[in-house]
């Protein structure tokens, strides 16, 4: 051939790297497939109505049966309470950062610490609520205490995603609104927020999905119970992740089966939230010129 070809050594190196890169991706996918396969296979055994509608009350250490109703109920309440606390604060903070703060001192401090806060280990958030709410204020372990810990974990995630979404709102929209004589706060509430709405919802749902699977903060704040406790404000509650942890630590096969079924339920809830968030994001991305 008259065209200069790439030397064998260089071509070999290129091929080897290509192989390594493909291998890396395969290595990353193997654990995911293994986890999902085992959770579905082992979880399906006990994943039935009895599991979903019964608590662990009066279930002996070696008995089969029993379920996670109390844990599912607890998780839903705790996550809902955590969202009620963290979403307003998170979105308001994001509004401040984008609409008012600019590059001011306060705004930059908030931005930096929000970034730092996203890296706080979840167990530390749990310890904080334990130290503050339970030990310092003398409150009891409760679902609400767990919700407080989850809220601490949710806030930075909500702020970051809401900030990104608000930044995407074109300033033309704001200017048009100002030109019509609409005051600034009404512009934010009636023009900016609705434009970014779907994006913000997506971010919130991803944050909810993240904290739904958190175990460590619940362990330190809601404690354990085998009974149904529908009141998150008094007495120990249960959470689904906590339930899986509790059952997985017991030595009997019946408990391990329940742990798998609990894991399956938990993954289903988290994946549904994730999927819904992605669908909303795809269905209506915020109006941008990009």
């Amino acid at each position: 051939m008259s065209i200069q070809t790439i030397s064998t050594g260089r071509r070999a190196k290129d091929t080897i790297v290509r192989g390594l890169v493909y291998l890396a991706f395969a290595i990353a996918v193997v654990p995911l497939v293994s986890v999902v396969y085992l959770v579905i296979k082992n979880g399906a055994e006990r994943f039935d109505l009895e599991f979903l509608l019964h608590s662990m009350r009066n279930i002996g250490a070696r008995d089969a049966g029993g379920g996670a109703y109390h844990a599912i109920l607890g998780t839903l309440e705790q996550v809902a309470l955590a969202s009620l606390m963290s979403v307003p604060i998170g979105i308001l903070t994001a509004i401040y950062l984008v609409e008012y703060g600019g590059n001011g001192r306060l705004a930059n401090a908030i931005r930096f610490f929000v970034d730092v806060m996203t890296g706080i280990p979840s167990v530390v958030a749990g310890l904080f609520i334990l130290a503050f709410w339970v030990l310092y204020l003398g409150q009891s372990f409760s679902g609400f205490a767990g919700a407080l810990a989850l809220a601490v974990l949710m806030m930075p995630t909500v702020v970051r995603s809401a900030e990104e979404m608000l930044k995407l709102v074109p300033s033309d929209l704001r200017e048009a609104s100002y030109a019509l004589g609409v005051p600034r706060w009404r512009t934010i509430v009636k023009v900016v927020l609705p434009t970014a709405f779907t994006g913000i919802i997506t971010g919130v749902m991803l944050a909810v999905a993240r904290v739904t699977g958190e175990t460590a903060p619940l362990l330190l704040t809601v404690f354990f119970t085998d009974s149904i406790n529908a009141d998150p404000f008094s007495g120990p509650q249960m959470g689904l992740p906590l339930y899986v942890f509790d059952q997985a630590g017991r030595p009997n096969d019946t408990a391990i089966d329940r742990a798998w079924a609990g894991a399956l339920t938990l993954i289903l809830i988290v994946m549904l939230l994730n999927l819904a968030a992605r669908l909303i994001a795809r269905w209506r991305s915020p109006a941008t010129g990009r």
Partner: protein, 323 residues
């Protein structure tokens, strides 16, 4: 007052625009600022209350908090030290990092430069799904499936590579530091891969095309154009992953044998971490015991804070990488 609007690339007006004043404007502005201040206050409160609740236990401690290798805060006299736990935390996290970073960079390169363009998005989503699996599920998977599974490979490592101190052990078990580190590596892989992917996507196209035009193979192009540009991003992503690994609790709490010693062998029945110890020791902890756990949590908080701050500094120092 000027009527011009200064905008930051597509962003909102930063200078004061000629907007009709409304009586509700000021309260609304203050409300949003207050929300931000609440966030700062929470951050400060975390430090304050952890310190306040840890101090009594530290005073009651009869051993040295920094060097003692036991954890008996519920005995009288109470004695506990962070040494073994801090060692376990750092050891398992660094092992996880060593395993996760090469794979994560490979995954990021695969998605940005090797996978067919149409599939890339979907494949990236699959890797992101790894991050969506709750940590307790990894823990369950680790203790039921991976621990027995690792027995064989661990014995193999011990037999053929036992001359390396890392793989020497008197007794080889599946429930080891190595197994816990593997689970940690799986858990931090998606975050490192996701950030690296973002950084690789920001490599100027011109640089890549210039390299290719000079006759570079794809690997040479990646080595000359992509990796140098992406290095700070990958480093900072790795540090974020490191912070994540150090704070991970439940998955490793289920796997670690919860011993209190310092050994470099990763195949033997030893291993613990600050976070795992909190999860496992909390139920039986008395008053001093809780204080001791909070003190250990404070140490974890400070370590992760430093690691995360360093990671952010690297990203911010190189503007444009922050997405």
């Amino acid at each position: 007052m000027t009527a011009t609007l200064k905008t930051r690339q597509g962003g909102p007006a930063t200078s004061r625009p000629a907007v009709r004043r409304s009586r509700a404007d000021k309260p609304f502005r203050h409300l949003t600022a207050a929300a931000g201040v609440v966030l700062l206050a929470i951050m400060a409160a975390i430090a304050v209350f952890l310190i306040a609740e840890a101090i009594p236990a530290l005073y009651a401690n009869e051993g040295s908090f920094l060097t003692e290798l036991i954890w008996t805060p519920n005995n009288s006299p109470p004695a506990f030290g962070i040494g073994a736990l801090a060692f376990g935390t750092l050891m398992s996290s660094f092992l996880a990092l060593i395993m996760a970073v090469p794979v994560a960079v490979g995954v990021a390169l695969f998605i940005t430069h090797y996978a067919p363009r149409k599939l890339a998005g979907a494949l990236g989503y699959i890797v992101d799904l790894l991050a969506a699996v709750p940590s307790v599920v990894y823990g369950l998977w680790g203790v039921i499936f991976l621990v027995p599974f690792m027995q064989g490979p661990s014995e193999f490592l011990n037999e053929y590579l036992g001359f390396i101190p890392l793989f020497s052990a008197d007794q080889v078990v599946g429930r080891s530091m190595l197994t816990a580190s593997i689970v940690l590596a799986i858990m931090i892989l998606p975050i490192i891969a996701a950030i690296s992917r973002e950084v690789f996507l920001q490599v100027p196209r011109m640089n890549e095309e210039a390299a290719l035009a000079l006759g570079a193979t794809r690997w040479e192009m990646i080595r000359m154009a992509v990796l140098p540009f992406g290095r700070p991003g990958v480093v900072s992503a790795s540090m974020l992953g490191l912070g994540r690994a150090m704070g991970e609790t439940i998955a490793v709490a289920l796997i670690f044998p919860a011993t209190f010693d310092i050994t470099f062998g990763v195949l033997g029945p030893s291993g613990n971490s600050i976070a795992a110890n909190i999860a496992l020791g909390f139920a039986e902890a008395g008053e001093v015991g809780r204080g001791a756990l909070i003190a250990s949590g404070l140490v974890l908080f400070i370590i992760t804070l430093l690691v995360n701050m360093a990671a952010r500094m690297i990203v911010v120092g190189r503007s444009g990488a922050r997405k």
